[in-house]
């Protein structure tokens, strides 16, 4: 991974935002993270707020504003959002 690669943009919504403590952050794609599942595991180990947020099995994800599964690839420059199941309407 080049050091000039664009960062990831991470977004958190609803109770994930409240548990993580921020609505948005940017970071370089961590070593060894290639998928949404990898990223989730990496974030979970980052601190108690993240651990609490990602402890729930219902956490949903979108990569570049499309719903994505744990297997979806994550690359530098991506916008990755985590949130609970949606409850609009």
């Amino acid at each position: 991974m080049s050091e000039t690669a664009p960062p990831l943009r991470l977004l958190y919504f609803a109770w994930l935002r409240e548990r993580v403590g921020v609505s948005e952050e940017t970071l370089a794609l961590p070593e060894g993270v290639a998928t949404v599942g990898d990223l989730t595991a990496w974030l979970r180990a980052r601190g108690p707020g993240y651990a609490a947020a990602f402890a729930s099995p219902v956490v949903r994800c979108a990569v570049n504003q499309d719903f994505a599964t744990a297997e979806a690839p994550v690359a530098p420059g991506d916008e990755v959002a985590f949130f609970p199941p949606v409850t609009g309407g």
Partner: protein, 151 residues
């Protein structure tokens, strides 16, 4: 067909939206409509307010994709999807769905489809503030998933 898709904090004007959808048109036979309101209680607990959060950018994309899917499935002459965000009080309208077609069945089916998919595929989240001061995020319902899966 142009779909109107909007996320806003302000109330919507249903008569104006209906007029915009059908202005100058004489090929529309029926318009289906759904208005969702904030209710005053949930699970027997009185609600003081509802706060809606969304994912700006993705929301508009998701609503446009849902409208496009409806256009694929029915012969529609117009779609309007408006969803409010921010703090709303019981009795206030949250969401408006309009679907126009030459024939009533398409208009009615598309209306039901649009609200079912909107509830399960558009990134909105509701937080209820209870009259007793507590607050909590609304949990997604299995019945909403089942309703969306019918289509």
């Amino acid at each position: 067909m142009a779909a109107t898709v909007r996320v806003q904090t302000a109330p919507f004007d249903i008569a104006a939206e209906l007029a915009a959808l059908s202005a100058g048109r004489t090929d529309i036979g029926g318009i289906g409509c759904f208005v969702g309101n904030v209710r005053d209680s949930a699970g027997g607990r009185a609600i003081a307010a509802m706060t809606l959060e969304h994912y700006p950018g993705m929301t508009e994309r998701a609503l446009a994709a849902i409208a496009a899917e409806a256009e694929q499935r029915w012969a529609l002459l117009g779609i309007t999807l408006i969803h409010r965000v921010g703090r709303l009080l019981p009795g206030e309208a949250i969401v408006l769905v309009l679907a126009a077609s030459a024939h009533r069945q398409a208009a009615l089916d598309a209306t039901a489809f649009l609200i079912d998919w909107l509830k399960t595929r558009a990134p909105f989240w509701k937080k209820e503030t209870f009259a007793d001061g507590g607050e909590d995020w609304v949990t997604a319902k299995d019945t909403d998933d089942a309703a969306a899966a019918r289509w």
